[in-house]
């Protein structure tokens, strides 16, 4: 039986801001850029009492909580703190799978310090984060990843919740089915039509019926309902894509996107420099004023090898957008994906032209 720990920093960016500026402590803090269209990156628990949530338009947050202090995000600082949290986790195991700057899975089955239990490891990590970084984290401990993640949310903020192997089925019996990973609004509604509200209902329906309704996903649903999730904690999950995107101050036509796309390409290229592998595919993402998202991608025979090249390809991908010329866009993104190892033996193809 594995011992999986999910660590989730509490209101991470907002907490870092409150820690570093005493004037912000105890006050509603919203981390967001200034701008008509910016969205909330994080909200302190004081701000959440007013209904402010992450990913909400900043203007709406301001209406909900006029007294909130708005702080622009400083990712360099958050990354540094995230790294410090990682160092604390590494005292206990090397099997760490970061999901973002503020959460990670750990496999504590064989912990470095021989504490012998996931609960002890989670306690130690939470204590170190509090003492050394003056921040709080919530932790969930369970025999697998999906339960550990649900557990870390159970006593948030600053809480620890443990689901022991023998408690798994009882815990799931009354858990709302919407808490299962992969069950969103649409799926929850479909389940409700079948009279399914709790995970216990899901389990009672049985594998055959679930597969009949949902195909392969039904099988997965059945496994989850029985507390089965064999996904391993993958410590070095390779990068899938590197991208940057931006919502414009005002909606723009395609022809006016040269500058934003060039800026985004430069930012993406800079971010990709830490990746030792090379990216083969360039992706241009656009969102229309009507929130329709389109992506165009190209895998050139020669992978882009400079910011200028990436920019040229990203700009040219606009030609493959076939919406009417009057269409306005609110967002653009430039991404690199399809990473592969550089050839060690043979270098690059020499160009003819």
């Amino acid at each position: 039986m594995r011992k999986i720990v999910h660590i989730d920093m509490d209101a991470f960016y907002a907490s870092v801001e409150q820690r570093d500026d005493p004037a912000l402590r105890g006050r509603p803090v919203v981390v967001a850029w200034r701008g008509l269209r910016s969205v909330v990156c994080a909200a302190s628990y004081e701000a959440r009492q007013f209904g402010v949530r992450s990913a909400m338009p900043a203007l709406r947050a301001e209406r909900l909580c006029p007294d909130a202090v708005f702080v622009p995000p400083d990712f360099t600082r958050y990354r540094a703190v995230s790294k410090a949290v990682r160092t604390i986790m590494q005292r206990h195991t090397d099997l760490i799978e970061p999901l973002s700057l503020d959460e990670a899975y750990l496999d504590a089955t064989h912990d470095h310090q021989g504490l012998g239990s996931g609960t002890a490891v989670a306690r130690a990590i939470r204590a170190s984060i509090r003492e050394e970084l003056a921040l709080t984290a919530s932790a969930g401990v369970a025999p697998n990843k999906f339960l550990a993640k649900i557990a870390s949310d159970w006593r948030k903020p600053d809480g620890l919740f443990v689901i022991r192997p023998e408690q798994v089925l009882d815990f799931l019996e009354v858990l709302p089915a919407a808490r299962l990973p992969g069950v969103g609004k649409v799926m929850a509604a479909r389940l409700q039509e079948l009279g399914i509200v709790t995970v216990g209902n899901v389990r009672a329906l049985g594998q055959l019926a679930l597969e009949a309704h949902f195909g392969r996903w039904g099988r997965r649903l059945h496994e989850l309902s029985r507390g089965i999730d064999e996904r391993a904690v993958e410590s070095a999950r390779p990068t899938q894509s590197i991208s940057s995107e931006d919502t414009f101050a005002q909606d723009l036509p395609l022809a006016a996107l040269d500058e934003p796309i060039s800026t985004l390409a430069a930012r993406t290229w800079a971010a990709a420099q830490v990746e030792p592998r090379i990216a083969r595919t360039v992706v241009l993402k656009l969102k229309t004023a009507e929130f329709r998202i389109l992506t165009r991608s190209l895998t050139p025979s020669q992978s882009p090898d400079s910011a200028a090249e990436l920019t040229r390809i990203a700009l040219s991908l606009r030609e493959r957008v076939d919406l009417p010329a009057r269409t306005l866009y609110r967002l653009a993104g430039v991404g690199l994906q399809g990473f592969s190892e550089r050839d060690e033996w043979l270098g690059r193809q020499v160009a003819l032209l």
């Binding site: 190209l298 020669q302 076939d322 050839d343 033996w345 270098g347 690059r348 020499v350 160009a351 003819l352």
Partner: protein
């Protein structure tokens, strides 16, 4: 419009034109085939606004007229009818009815007036060549065309009239293929057009081996190719093809002559252990021997030796093996001559004593 015809006779023109119909169209009528019945002939036309294909066949006409129906559906139905069926096709109001023995189909139609027939403009140059010769030119050059390159003028084939002959050139920026044939025109005029990839591939599909005639008519923005019972009209790519003659190496003085099939097989085998993405192989030459070496990231290694007529010594160059194989497959002599200069320069591959086919392959930097 109404006519009747044998299944096989109808299938052939549909097969010839259906390929150009895109799965998703900008105009609904582009999903359709235009059928025009006149003087005992039915002509079938499809288009994607870049390439227009049409093919004709003699039919027993009951009523002349024109209409359009889904090209894909008509083709699929005709294909699925039993061999030797007699098919009757007629316009009936906004429907087109197809009847054959005990099968009855009613298809939606759009008026022929909606179909955007290409206006090719005045013909400025016209040549005739036998289909077999042109098919050979294409077979030796089109494989090097670029695919979705941002340099849009590479996503096609250069067709060039020069010195009374005809030359086709394609390059994707890493290798180049050139093929030519003499004596197709009286005119000394030099003219270059770039035919987009799709137009080239559709034309290549329609060409037959043999000496049936092909007429190529060049107008300002189009190339029209007229075959025995079909016509391809392709828009031209508006752009300047690179100065390809400048990249055909002149100083490649290290000559290696090998048996084409032996070296082709050696490369195909060694390629199994080359890196799946870069496809790199190393060519090493010493007097009498050409060696092919391949490695992959798993540190596996292949080495092949081929007997070669050469005095070249201690020369080593890396190449994408697919480029070499493509070039070797597009030469039809039993011996092939490879000209190299140094480890950083291109290879010129041609038949000994024959300059009508030339392939240039750029190296991979070692």
């Amino acid at each position: 419009m109404r006519f009747s015809i044998q299944r096989e006779a109808l299938l052939r023109p549909l097969q010839q034109v259906v390929g150009v119909v895109e799965r998703r169209q900008t105009l609904p009528v582009l999903a359709n085939v235009l059928i025009r019945v006149e003087d005992g002939i039915a002509r079938f036309t499809t288009s994607d606004l870049e390439v227009e294909l049409s093919a004709q066949v003699a039919v027993e006409t009951a009523a002349e007229g024109e209409t359009t129906v889904s090209a894909r559906k008509l083709f699929d139905i005709v294909k699925a009818l039993p061999d030797g069926s007699r098919i009757d096709l007629k316009q009936d109001g906004e429907r087109v009815r197809l009847a054959s023995a005990r099968s009855r189909y009613s298809l939606a139609s759009l008026p022929a007036s909606q179909f955007p027939v290409t206006e090719a403009g005045d013909v400025q140059e016209r040549i005739e060549i036998d289909q077999g010769s042109f098919k050979k030119l294409l077979a030796r050059s089109t494989f090097a065309m670029a695919l979705q390159d941002v340099r849009y003028y590479l996503n096609g084939l250069l067709v060039e009239l020069r010195n009374k002959g005809l030359r086709t050139v394609a390059t994707d920026g890493h290798r180049l293929a050139l093929a030519e044939t003499a004596g197709v025109s009286e005119s000394e005029l030099r003219r270059q057009v770039i035919v987009p990839r799709k137009g080239v591939l559709e034309l290549q599909r329609l060409l037959e081996v043999g000496d049936a005639s092909l007429e190529l008519a060049f107008s300002k923005n189009h190339l029209r190719a007229r075959l025995s019972d079909s016509v391809v009209v392709s828009k031209l790519i508006d752009g300047r093809f690179p100065d390809y003659e400048a990249v055909i190496p002149i100083g490649a003085d290290k000559i290696i002559q090998v048996d084409r099939e032996s070296v082709r097989q050696a490369l195909s085998r060694a390629a199994i252990l080359s890196n799946e993405k870069y496809r790199g192989v190393k060519i090493e030459v010493q007097p009498g021997v050409l060696r092919v070496i391949a490695h992959n990231p798993e540190q596996e290694e292949a080495m092949e030796e081929v007997e070669a007529q050469t005095l070249v010594d201690k020369l080593s160059v890396g190449f994408n093996v697919n480029y070499l194989l493509d070039a070797l497959s597009a030469v039809d002599s039993s011996e092939v001559r490879i000209r190299l200069r140094d480890g950083a320069s291109s290879a010129l591959i041609e038949s000994p004593g024959d300059e009508t086919t030339r392939h240039v392959v750029m190296p991979l930097r070692l």
